[in-house]
Amino acid sequence: MLLKGFLRQILSLGAASKGRLQLAMSLLQSSNSPADIRRHLPELLSSGNWQVRNAAIKLVAKIRDEDRFDLLIEKLLDRNEAGIVRRNAAELLHKWGRYTPEVERALCQALSDGYWEVRAEAARSLASLAEPGRAIERKLVKRLHDPDGNGRGDALRTVRERNFEVRAGLAEALGALGTTEDAFAAIKTLAADAQWLVRYQAAIALAHFASRLPDFFDRAREALQDVDHLSSGALPIFVFSQRIGRLLDDMGRGTLDPAVLKHRYIHLKHGWHRIDEVRW
């Protein structure tokens, strides 16, 4: 598949493709005319150059072209499509905000994509779009754990996901969508991750989970106290440690609000340094 994409891209590096890319970028940046964009979309979507196709799906989302909504799902699932286009398709579905069974199916399927950015984006999109439920929770836990493991999430060694951004995305999704003991255990596993960014997301996820399911409140608080606050370098003002302290304070006062907690995750794609810009 990689080779196919590579050859397709090589063949598309001609002047015509450059012209189409310029056209797509100018439409993306300046055109607000849906008719104008719609006129050019077929040509852009069929381009051999992934950058043109990438801009084209962004244009579809920009004008919210209802006729082409399914195209985003198609692009997300097309394993022959460039990884960045698939990732952006997942992100655009999230931004579009329409959640249908097809979208859920596609995002769940994308959790097993070979390209880590797609898996991470799918997890984040599910966290924002999906409703809490056992079925989706099971898929997330399954993605996290080794099929040969016990699936209860009580041992780090059963974690099969190697990419930390995906693990962080799964923590966010489990915090937002988990409903059972399995999900809670999986978040606890992630809260003991070697990567502090995953631990951070898992800490927020623990609080988020408990804010939705008060039965888990005391255990989530306990788990939060056990989270390793050290971060390898991170920021000189130890924002991570401060945040955990504030989460515990909020929990102590019983003022956890799921809607507020949703905004306390870091969007890792945009860089963890923005942790100090996260609204608190």
């Binding site: 090589i10 992934w50 370098g233 340094h273």
Partner: protein, 352 residues
């Protein structure tokens, strides 16, 4: 020692005034957020510290080097040429309001290729080459072999490639406070030592530096007479670089800008070419190679051709940062890598 001391003192003394002046001219960093680095906190830091480095190197060279030496003239000329290109880029960026407003990649490549071509021809043509022995001038020396690989006229395209590589490598490494200047100092130390050894009859013969097989089949040694002046120039780079680090260490109060990164890369690249030690530059500047390589793999193979990231971010220092390691720690760890590379380059002296 004196050259290093002079350059060190000049940068240390002139830096405060230079920063004020540059800020008054509006030549300050206006970064665009990218790659996970918290660049917005770096907005307003004076640019063009490279001009100060180059000025102090040139001044120290003028005082302590034999200025008529063709080695010194070519190496300093390389520095000045690339500093002018870099300064133009820095000024356009500062005036344009953001870091993407500078010279295009293509324009920079053209400037680098032009210089590489000139240097390659200068080296190859007997009338202009500072290296008297034609075989040595046209050979590529590898650490594990006594004699070089004779490329003949092929040395010209190789020099072009090498100069483009050297100036871009330092340019790409210059993405965090203090990150680029330390590997540059290490490479300058290594090249300075090689310049001294190559110019000394006894050492160059003992260490098999620049040896070649004569037409009669006998192994001969060629001493680069006058190349010892490059040791003084390298010492000046070490001195000015160290003083620059004083101000450039995290959190930086001045950036070298493209003025400095292109100039230092170009100058050290030219020194390596003149000493016929390009391979040593690759080893001593292993970190620079990794930074350039990671960028190339990400931009040209990953993003342009495959449509996916091969590394989480590029260049290498941004990948480390993206993994949650703080800027200070990334910088120090990469300095350690740079030091190991420099030691590895020195170890090759006995592997010939």
């Amino acid at each position: 020692m004196w050259a290093a001391g002079t350059a060190f003192a000049l940068v240390l003394l002139l830096a405060p005034r230079f920063k004020k002046r540059v800020r008054r001219w509006g030549l300050v960093d206006k970064p665009k957020p990218h790659g996970g680095l918290n660049v917005l906190t770096k907005a307003g830091v004076p640019l063009m510290g490279g001009a100060l480095i180059l000025f102090s190197v040139a001044a120290a060279a003028f005082v302590w080097c034999r200025v008529t030496s063709s080695y010194v003239l070519i190496a300093t000329g390389a520095g000045v040429y690339f500093a002018v290109v870099g300064a133009f880029d820095d000024i356009v960026k500062a005036r344009g309001g953001h870091s993407d407003a500078g010279l295009s990649r293509g324009t920079k490549y053209v400037a680098q290729i032009v210089f590489g071509l000139a240097l390659g021809l200068l080296l190859f043509l007997p009338q202009t080459s500072p290296i008297r022995e034609r075989v040595v001038a046209g050979s590529l020396y590898l650490p594990f072999s006594r004699t070089g690989l004779c490329l003949g006229l092929g040395i010209v395209p190789f020099v072009i490639f090498f100069i483009v590589f050297a100036s871009n490598a330092v340019n790409l490494t210059d993405g965090m406070d203090g990150l680029a200047i330390v590997p540059v100092i290490f490479v300058a130390i290594v090249l300075g030592l090689f310049a001294y050894l190559s110019s000394n009859v006894n050492y160059s013969e003992y260490l098999h530096l620049n040896s070649y097989v004569a037409p009669d089949g006998i192994l001969k040694y060629h001493t680069l007479r006058g190349a010892g002046e490059l040791t003084v120039l390298c010492a000046a780079v070490v001195g000015s670089g160290t003083a620059f680090l004083w101000h450039n260490a995290h959190p930086a109060s001045i950036f070298m800008g493209d003025t400095g990164s292109l100039a230092l890369g170009g100058m050290l690249g030219a020194i390596a070419v003149l000493l016929r030690q390009e391979a040593i530059f690759f080893i001593a500047g292993g970190l620079l190679v990794a930074e350039l390589g990671s960028s190339f793999i990400q931009d040209y193979i990953g993003l342009r051709l495959l449509g996916r990231r091969i590394l989480p971010r590029a260049p290498l220092h941004l990948t480390l940062l993206h993994h949650g390691t703080g800027e200070g720690k990334v910088t120090v760890r990469l300095w350690i890598v740079a030091a190991m590379c420099a030691l590895a380059a020195l170890a090759t002296l006995r592997l010939r």
